[in-house]
């Protein structure tokens, strides 16, 4: 390559993308495969972060293990990359230790719903004040394409070579029945609507949950002969239906079936900290001291 060409390439790389102040650029390029949709989901999240105007220094992001689990490492916020499935318990601890923080959990379906499913149920039940973003690509991607709790019936995975015949979770239904106060689902192609939903979720007090249906080209699409991530995006384009407030029990996703997206739940319920404070105030009366985080020494 000539020196002129190299110089041109270098100049190009020095151009600054408007999202760069929210990313750890020294870690780019990220590990995600070509036509994987996780990067798009992250862009929508960064846009929502900017729009929601929550102070970035009071925001923390927690991920577990998996392809989506890398997000905490790429976003320039206080972040933690926890062990497999334990993003929500770590985030719960973070929130309780410092209730002023806005804590976001950004991880995959395998991590949040599969390995860490129990934590998900209880955080939603308690209405822990977290924003949980779950990127659902229907498979355990990073670990080698195993069958997940979200794999549609008949889909091929490395541990279901003849097809999966277990009923997958319907995530919005699960979240809502456990008590989440905000529940939405979008595909990675609906970037603008997704960003709007994420903004609302970030501003919501209590357990807010956003599911992002996202193409995994290398494992899910390849094993099921569905083409590339771009083909899956085209599939979402033709087969997703917006239905706000839809009947949650009808949100199951079959193999290459219609995908119902939209905002399904937006309600109010006392958060964990509010509930405990209120309860103890009633019991302890004048001895009660409200919990608002660690006591400042200065």
């Amino acid at each position: 390559m000539s020196e002129v060409q190299l110089k041109k390439k270098k100049e190009e790389l020095e151009e600054e993308h408007p999202m760069e102040h929210l990313l750890r650029m020294e870690r780019m390029p990220h590990i995600w495969c070509p036509t994987c949709g996780i990067g798009t989901a992250v862009t929508a999240f960064l846009m929502a972060l900017e729009k929601s105007q929550i102070p970035l220094k009071d925001t923390a992001i927690v991920s577990g293990i998996g392809c989506t689990g890398r997000v905490a490492g790429y976003v320039k916020l206080d972040s933690f990359h926890s062990t497999h499935g334990r993003a929500i318990p770590f985030a719960t601890g973070l929130k309780l230790a410092n209730p002023k923080l806005k804590v976001v959990v950004f991880s995959g379906d395998g991590d949040i719903i599969g390995i860490g499913g129990n934590h998900f149920l209880h955080a939603a039940r308690r209405n822990m004040d977290l924003t949980v973003v779950c990127v659902n690509n229907f498979i355990y991607a990073m670990t080698g394409g195993q069958c997940a709790a979200t794999t549609p019936i008949t889909a091929n995975t490395s541990t279901s070579p003849y097809g999966n015949f277990e009923q997958p979770f319907n995530l919005p239904y699960l979240a809502a029945s456990c008590g989440a106060v905000y529940v939405a689902r979008w595909t990675a192609l609906d970037v603008r609507r997704l960003a709007k939903s994420l903004t609302e979720a970030l501003q919501k007090k209590g357990f807010s949950f956003v599911e992002i249906i996202c193409p995994c080209s290398t494992l899910y699409a390849r094993r099921n002969r569905l083409g590339t991530g771009l083909d899956l995006m085209k599939f979402y384009h033709d087969n997703s239906v917006i239905k706000h407030g839809a009947d949650l029990s009808e949100l199951d996703i079959g193999f290459q079936s219609k995908i119902v997206v939209g905002k399904f739940i937006d309600r109010e319920r006392p958060t964990f900290i509010e509930g405990v404070n209120q309860g103890l105030r009633g019991v302890l009366k004048e001895k009660f001291v409200e919990y608002g985080g660690p006591i400042d020494d200065d």
Partner: protein, 105 residues
Amino acid sequence: MRFWRKPLDADKLQIPHGEIHIIRERCKGCAFCVEYCPKDVLELSTEFNLKGYHPPAAKNAEACVHCGLCELLCPEFALFVLEKKEEEKGDKSITPCKEVEKVES
């Protein structure tokens, strides 16, 4: 340009124009930007970047209306669009694109 219903204030509307910046070395050639640009501005080039992918190129840069969809869809943070300052006004190529996007989002 085809339109279904001409806005009454078409002659007063100013169509935004975007200036597309492609960081070619960062691109992984997924073509999301090419496929979903509402104005069909981009195409995958035949040239290779250092990673061996074909980054997009603007084949019709003047048509860009700064809707920002390509920038949002790009999973690699490899493409962004800045507003190009406008000199001329008028309805030469009115497009409902930007307005529609605003209503939906």
